[in-house]
Symmetry: C2
DNA sequence: TATACTATTGTAGTAATTCCAATTTTGAAA
DNA sequence: TTTCAAAATTGGAATTACTACAATAGTATA
């Protein structure tokens, strides 16, 4: 998978970021794990390969990614921030049972809104909350 | 305004919450300040009237309100949680310049979404980010 | 190779929130 | 009204995500 390395390196360079080993690994992890990893997820996963890795580096790296438009920060609850490299517009669903986050397809741009005259809207986020199929199943079992 | 007191007391009772002095005051504050106060805002405002007030009580109270459906928690950024008693559906806009939060009118329920088959959606939140008119003005001034 | 810039690291600090045990208040029963 | 158990409040300690900062290491260019 030298292919991947080349692609990630190019992705960083095109965003004006030096392709350091740490940045490549963080970006690779974000692309592989399509989930919505937290800083801790990333840190623990990469610390195996990069024993000297510092948490601060993960924070710094993710901040650069967000600033460069390579990733988005997801604040769906009051807990840790999560990071997402899926850049086409989509919504986030969080299960109140297990906490898992699922992307879904929604086109927020077609929706009319009022009360923001003379405001400049730059980003739009849609967050849903509820129960995932798995947790609905758990609930049904408990009821019997 | 004994009227108000009676109304707040009833509101709490109907939600199954004992109308303690602290709870009435917190609920009153949330209704008066239509903004999106933080725990600290509420604590400092009420500590004048209730010198013994504890921060923990404000936290506990707000949690009960959210659980009872009297208020909603707003996590528009990674900073402090904010609380909102405007219960009809609406979106939240946060200015990246000054941090202020503005409600706006949007009907998220008419919007189609895909990828959540067999999920049970209970809550929908819409968060926008950008610049408020005031901060757009500031920016123009700086440019001259 | 020298130099200047940039990235990484680790520690210490901050701030929001939760935990928990003691105290106070409340509502209902005697 | 008095009594008593349950619920609410309090304050201090603990937790945790995140930031600040200074020292070190790495990298590109002349």
């Amino acid at each position: 998978m030298d292919d991947t390395l080349a692609r990630l390196t190019r992705e960083l360079a095109e965003s004006g970021l030096r392709p350091s080993y740490q940045r490549i690994k963080v970006l690779e992890y974000l692309h592989e794990k399509k989930g919505h990893p937290t800083v801790d997820d990333i840190y623990h996963a990469l610390a195996v390969e990069i024993p000297t890795l510092s948490r601060t580096t993960v924070y710094n790296t993710l901040h650069s990614f967000v600033e460069a438009g390579l990733a988005r920060m997801v604040h769906i609850d009051g807990a840790e921030a999560r990071y997402d490299v899926t850049l086409h517009p989509h919504g986030h669903f969080q299960c109140v049972g297990c906490g898992s986050i699922t992307n879904f397809s929604i086109n927020i741009d077609v929706l009319a809104f009022e009360g923001l005259n003379r405001f400049e809207v730059r980003e739009k986020d849609v967050y849903f909350r509820g129960l995932c199929p798995n947790c609905i199943g758990q609930q049904d079992l408990r009821r019997e």
